[in-house]
């Protein structure tokens, strides 16, 4: 059993402490917006926020997340509507297949929180998620659009 706080809500989950956070989120909490891509923290499809910092949830365990605020793609929007990154993604028609985009959006939201006006080089350094469809040009445009929103 583990108590996790996901998107501001408390979950008591029947899960072993060494389970990767990704699978606890997907299978035990039932939040499937966070995706499995590689399981070895290479691709970033599983990116969530842990106390506001972007982490690859396949690479950390449930026990490491206990007591922390976990935010997933489902919790990014507020009562006032979509997060500005989601809005920019919509306006720039970013996703193709879309499978990597939850992680991409979470990584970008964390970047903009720390660095509200990132340069292209900042983006290159911070955003290392894999997108096999190749949406990078739209991702970059949308990051700048969100930064200027």
């Amino acid at each position: 059993m583990a108590n996790l706080t996901i998107n501001g809500k408390s979950y008591t989950l029947d899960v072993e402490p060494d389970t990767p956070l990704l699978w606890a989120i997907r299978e035990n909490a039932g939040l499937t917006g966070t995706k499995y891509g590689c399981g070895i923290a290479q691709c970033g499809a599983c990116t969530v926020h842990l106390d506001g910092t972007a982490v690859r949830s396949c690479g950390i365990t449930v026990s490491e997340a206990v007591g922390k605020q976990i935010t997933t793609i489902e919790g990014l929007a507020s009562d006032n509507g979509l997060h500005k990154v989601q809005q920019a993604w919509l306006e720039n028609d970013v996703p193709q297949c879309g499978y990597c985009q939850s992680g991409m959006i979470m990584a970008v939201a964390a970047l903009l929180k720390d660095n509200p006006k990132p340069s292209d080089q900042d983006i290159n350094d911070a955003i290392t998620n894999i997108c096999r469809c190749g949406t990078f040009a739209q991702v970059r445009e949308a990051i700048h659009a969100a930064a200027n929103a």
Partner: protein, 727 residues
């Protein structure tokens, strides 16, 4: 119907839904565009015809038979229907008919397969007619109601008007009446010059749920009481499952069952996938790897190299007498190239969810070929078509991989062992990397001959290597030979060579290693364009000529090939000096019915680090349905193609694929993305594909620029093998 945006997994099937609503059923009636009885969608709204459902609130539901995997054809196909339907685009939504419904309705939606860049081009005629027929019926229904001649009525933006009387109505108000009409026999399509929606870069229809996490992919399917499965197939293709020690994992948490499949694979079924995977990793398995375990990349390479020199070959394109002309050539140039296996590495690993009982089998999955998946369900379940169904979901990438149905078959086989319990099978990334349907491996020896005036008089290409059709579509072989290996090199058809050489011989020596080949975005143009376009650069250099001018002289009989090449040359400023330290390369090809070219600007640091600054790309696909999506497909194809060039390449050791995850099979990141400038020059009169053709020009354009920068030829992919990487 499966709503593509938010699949309603618990929704009753179309048949049940329509019957419960008391709607007249036309299932099984062979009426291509509807009929006198009203066919109803699951929510009770009338089908005007198979492609168009109109709800009372004027929502237009357009049926999409082809699969959406990111390429955007769901939106493009809807544009094609809506253009002729003259409906309000803001009221358009889409849904997938299911393969089972297509079978029950005698394939009213035609082919579901989504590959070969055919989604738009192979459907455009009948889906536009579907939209036009629906418009005619809706107008007829309004005219009937108003008792005025139909010719006096017009439709625009989902509103029907009768000018003389000033009457207007909407599609939603007359849809019931329209659905009862006999479909028109003669349907005329708009002249392309009158299109207002086709050709417009409207936004995709499937984006909203992709930014909130709500989009349901196959891996996200959740059904009541569902169990989860992880699988390991024999690491060596052709090998067998010998034994496994189930007792060793018997007490592990959540484990429900261990299932052997087809004598080659073993799956663990558990309450969660993580439990299933953990137990599978702990399960001792003994494989009988068989003879193929002796195969390595070195042994394959040696076998293919022999095919360059000896043995029978299949002639794919020939004119003149290339061998004689080469024998008498004043100057000869020769080179050997190779291209490796590549994994599709879709972001979403293979998966499928199945539930089986003695009289029903249903599957939920992402598939590029709903009907092939349906056939796999029938075969694996042993049940007849009327007892099976496949619910298609949006794909987390396809690139050709999800045209195969191995994972669907496995899911059904597992579910059969647990009747009544839904089971979701997800492949680990490691399983996905090592059990792909790989881009085929080939080598190519090219020989060119010049006369005393530096005119190219002869070209001989001998390709040696794997055939995709031999393994996946043997019925498409011609006398045992594979014409598809000449993609981009043929004398006629949708993928022709752009050069006229007086003496030409292009041949293929088929050699099929045990590694399963597959259709991988771009398929055979990936290697053929490198072989031909890099070698054309070699020939130009040997003749002391500019690569563009050298090509142009050989392309006068192929004006469409030439036009796209000229377009990129002009845009990149070929002939003017590039910025300091920047070098350029060119490539062109014809594939999937489209003419494409690319020009790259790169710089090279220390000979080993390549910065791709810019790629200008042009395409003539005949017609452009959605330029915003075409632009994205071009740029995306370069990410896929350049990832393969720089980082890709799957190697074989002890009969198995060595690369197991993105740490050993890397993919481009945003930092490595060049600026891509797309030029669309649709010349009309034909329909070419978009998703694939441009992938072929990225690699040779960059390799030719590398030569311009360094004077060195790279003839082997991937670049990581030569310690060359992105700067």
């Amino acid at each position: 119907m499966n709503q593509h945006v938010t699949p309603r997994l618990n929704r009753r099937s179309f048949v049940v839904g329509a019957a419960a609503l008391g709607g007249g059923l036309a299932l099984g009636l062979d009426i291509p565009f509807g009929g006198p009885q009203i066919v109803r969608a699951a929510d009770g709204s009338p089908e005007v015809n198979a492609w168009v459902v109109i709800r009372p609130d004027d929502t237009v539901v357009i049926r999409i038979a082809r699969s959406e995997m990111g390429q955007g054809s769901l939106t493009g196909l809807a544009q094609l229907v809506a253009e002729e339907l003259a409906c309000d685009w803001s009221k358009v939504t889409t849904e997938y008919p299911t393969p089972g419904q297509n079978v029950a309705r005698k394939r009213v939606w035609g082919d579901f397969s989504t590959g070969g860049s055919r989604g738009i081009r192979s459907s455009q005629d009948y889906v536009r007619k579907g939209g036009a027929a629906a418009r005619m019926m809706l107008i007829q229904a309004a005219a009937d109601e108003w008792k005025v001649p139909v010719a006096e009525c017009t439709a625009a933006n989902s509103v029907i008007s009768h000018k003389a009387s000033g009457k207007t109505t909407t599609y939603g108000k007359v849809a019931e009446a329209a659905a009862k009409l006999t479909p028109p026999a003669d349907v005329k399509l708009k002249d392309p010059k009158d299109w207002t929606l086709i050709g417009k870069g409207v936004k995709r229809l499937d984006t909203a749920d992709k930014v909130t996490g709500a989009m349901m992919y196959g891996a996200d399917v959740t059904l009541p009481n569902m169990l989860n499965a992880a699988i390991k197939d024999c690491p060596v293709t052709g090998g067998k499952l010998k034994s496994y020690d189930e007792a060793k994992i018997a007490g592990m948490k959540g484990v429900k069952k261990v299932v052997a499949i087809d004598g080659t694979a073993v799956a663990v079924v558990a309450d969660t996938w993580w439990h299933a995977k953990t137990a599978l990793d702990a399960l001792p398995i003994v494989w009988d790897e068989g003879e193929n375990a002796k195969v390595s990349s070195a042994s394959i390479g040696k076998w293919l190299a022999e095919g360059l020199e000896s043995g029978p070959a299949y002639v794919g394109n020939e004119n003149g007498d290339a061998k004689a002309a080469l024998a008498s050539a004043v100057k000869k140039v020769e080179a050997v190239y190779n291209y490796p296996y590549q994994n599709h590495a879709t972001m979403e690993p293979m998966n499928a969810t199945a539930v089986y009982t003695a009289d029903r089998c249903e599957v939920w999955c992402g598939t590029q070929n709903g009907e092939a998946a349906f056939a796999a369900v029938l075969e694996a379940s042993g049940l007849p078509a009327e007892k099976c169904e496949v619910h298609k979901l949006i794909l987390g990438g396809g690139f050709g991989r999800r045209g195969q149905t191995d994972y669907v078959r496995q899911a059904v086989k597992i579910a059969k062992e647990l009747p009544g319990t839904p089971v979701k099978l997800i492949w680990s990334r490691e399983e996905d990397m090592t059990h792909g349907r790989y881009h085929p491996i080939t080598q190519c020896k090219l020989t060119g001959g010049f006369d005393a005036d530096n005119n190219l008089t002869a070209l001989h290409m001998r390709i040696s290597g794997q055939s995709i059709l031999f393994s996946l579509r043997p019925e498409a072989l011609v006398n045992g030979k594979d014409p598809a290996t000449f993609q981009g090199l043929a004398s006629s058809g949708e993928a022709t060579i752009g050069y006229s050489v007086p003496n030409l011989l292009i041949e293929h020596s088929m050699r099929n290693p045990h590694i399963n080949p597959g259709f991988w975005r771009g398929v055979n143009v990936n290697q053929n364009a490198i072989y031909l376009e890099c070698f054309m650069d070699e020939l130009a250099a040997a003749a002391g000529q500019d690569p563009l001018e050298f090509r142009r002289k050989l392309m006068s009989k192929n004006p469409k090939h030439l036009a796209v090449l000229n377009a990129v040359a002009e845009k990149i400023g070929w002939g003017s000096a590039p910025p300091e330290g920047v070098y350029r390369g060119l490539a062109q090809l014809h594939g999937y019915g489209s003419y494409v070219a690319g020009a790259a600007e790169i710089s090279v640091i220390d000979g080993t680090k390549i910065k791709v600054h810019r790629i200008v790309a042009s395409t003539d696909p005949g017609y452009v349905v959605n330029p915003a999506q075409v632009e994205r497909q071009i740029a995306g194809s370069f990410v896929y193609g350049l990832s393969a060039l720089f980082y890709g390449g799957c190697t074989v050791r002890d009969g198995r694929i060595e690369q197991t995850n993105f740490d050993s099979y890397n993919s481009m990141r945003i930092a490595e993305m060049p600026k891509v400038e797309a030029i669309m020059v649709p010349s009309g009169g034909f329909w070419g594909g978009v998703g694939e053709p441009t992938i072929g020009v990225a690699a040779p354009a960059v390799l030719n620029a590398y030569f311009a920068a360094t004077g060195k030829r790279i003839r082997s992919v991937p670049l990581r093998d030569q310690n060359i990487t992105f700067a």
